[in-house]
Symmetry: none
Subunit: 182 residues, 4 copies
């Protein structure tokens, strides 16, 4: 992928994350290129959104790698995962809102891979007797994504401090809001 294209994608992501309905015109302007150039790189809005989706998947997989979620204590792995994924919360939120993405096989496969890895982590925790069995891995996956995205918005809105966001998500997800847990 050329650097130009990557930069274009990042600019588009930065805008679409905030305004999911931004027009190609606005995206092009935000990226500092003309509409036509944007179209040259991504023939059609769908292509752009798909590229964004693939970029998101790629980034997410990189973060899963970086978090080494397959290794060590599942609890710590969840914490590392949250810590790593937090910077991508806006991106995640955008992709979450674009449910149209799920019609693209490539995209489905990508998310299936990610879901599988995260679910596997939760299953591993359950098998080790650490995580509750009555909350399904699929639900925990979705809840994790949702809390990460939400915490990103909360940081933007000034409702929680940036440095607290990972802890807020981790503590809530792992320990819930009730007192009495170490």
């Amino acid at each position: 992928m050329s650097l130009d294209r990557e930069q274009l994608l990042r600019d588009a992501a930065a805008l679409l994350t905030r305004r999911a309905t931004a027009s190609m015109d606005q995206i092009a302007k935000a990226a500092g290129v003309s509409r036509a150039t944007l179209h040259r790189h991504f023939p059609g809005r769908d292509a752009l959104v798909r590229a964004l989706g693939m970029l998101g998947i790629q980034q997410m997989e990189e973060r899963l790698d970086a978090a080494r979620i397959e290794e060590g204590d599942p609890i710590e792995a969840v914490r590392r995962l949250i810590e790593q994924a937090m910077p991508a919360s806006g991106f995640l939120a955008f992709l979450y809102g674009e449910n149209q993405l799920y019609d693209v096989p490539e995209m489905d496969e990508g998310w299936a891979r990610i879901d599988e890895r995260v679910s596997a982590l939760f299953r591993r925790g359950q098998e080790q007797g650490l995580f509750r069995y009555d909350l399904t891995p699929a639900w925990l996956c979705e809840a994790l994504y949702a809390l990460i995205a939400t915490s990103g918005w909360c940081v933007q809105d000034g409702k929680i401090a940036p440095r607290d966001s990972a802890r807020m998500v981790g503590e809530l997800l792992l320990g819930g809001m009730l007192r009495g847990r170490s």
Copy 2:
């Protein structure tokens, strides 16, 4: 508010909840009226979305009332709140995505009222020594909304069973995913 108008709103909500980008034409068709009639009741798409926002606030407040969140054991109050709010999860999710609404003062006031009531519940739980102090009421509010909306999507996608949704949210929010809690 006339019954016609209310019905129109409900039909619009039912559609927009599933397809946030539905055109006025599609909305009108879904409601069984002509575009022009839809426009007569809601002069412009913005007016419709704003009315939906107000309806969402009204419904949410009714559900808070029905859940009697100011009364009794905070833990049980949270469970009642979730139970009550769950049917509106799709609606909530839609309004969540309409960042246009954040510019309407009336809307802000409405959500501020709701946030205040829900936050008060969390504070009450904290003051009774039941809820953790290190998770702020504001964050718990947002997390609650996010989990409710997410569970709605999960039900739609068949990831969790409708009858489980409230429990999934409640258990996760209250107790977290770690084992060992009664």
Copy 3:
């Protein structure tokens, strides 16, 4: 013609005279009736405009009668005509702008009658050696209408005093702007 209908027409004229593009809705509101009632009286906008045209013609003919333009000194007859027609200046201006009217035979005939009478006055003045021959009666007709309509606007805009308007038109039309004429 019923009184209701006549009042409706007058109200419509009063509005359309100022805003030629006023919608049926605005006209109905200005007349204090519902759109439907307006449509009952005048089936369609064209019917209304045509009725206005006929009313205008009728009024104009009444004023020509009142001015007795066929009698006496042509110069004085012109002055009387202007004096009489002045109150209808707004009406005249509206009809002037609606050149679509000229597709209705009834209307054409009416205006032809009026034009004929006014032209006859000018011809009479020419034949008596009072009016110039190099300005055709047809042109003088049009100029007369235009000056009356314009003076009406000038009065509305405060550019000339209401009591001066007839004189301004009469003096200009009859004597022109050069000094030296008694």
Copy 4:
């Protein structure tokens, strides 16, 4: 101003002058472009009409310049003014009918400049003892415009010959319709 834009304006003027209610579609077609292109140059009908208004002012000022109305014999200056303004009669008539324009400050200023120059000519004639004092410059201005616009219509309707129009206006305005003037 680009040539394209200017050409577009002229085409629009040519059509709107004849049919003041022409739709944007008709205008675009008359100009040989698509509606979208017309909208790109003039975002909205208002913008187009306003641009036409400004073009009208500009043209009128150029004609005042060409007529050198500030120089020489006021009577001849009036004749030159009429001669020059006559080709724009249709344009003038159109702008006259657009009462929407009266709300645009830029427009008011432009017409105020023009009115001032024309009024100054009439005042100059009065001060030289050539023009009557009992007809105010403001009224003469309006009468001049009205007669020019009317003569344009008369030419279109075949009521007066094109080559006679300037003379008809000039003679009537300057000398009135009474015989006996040289």
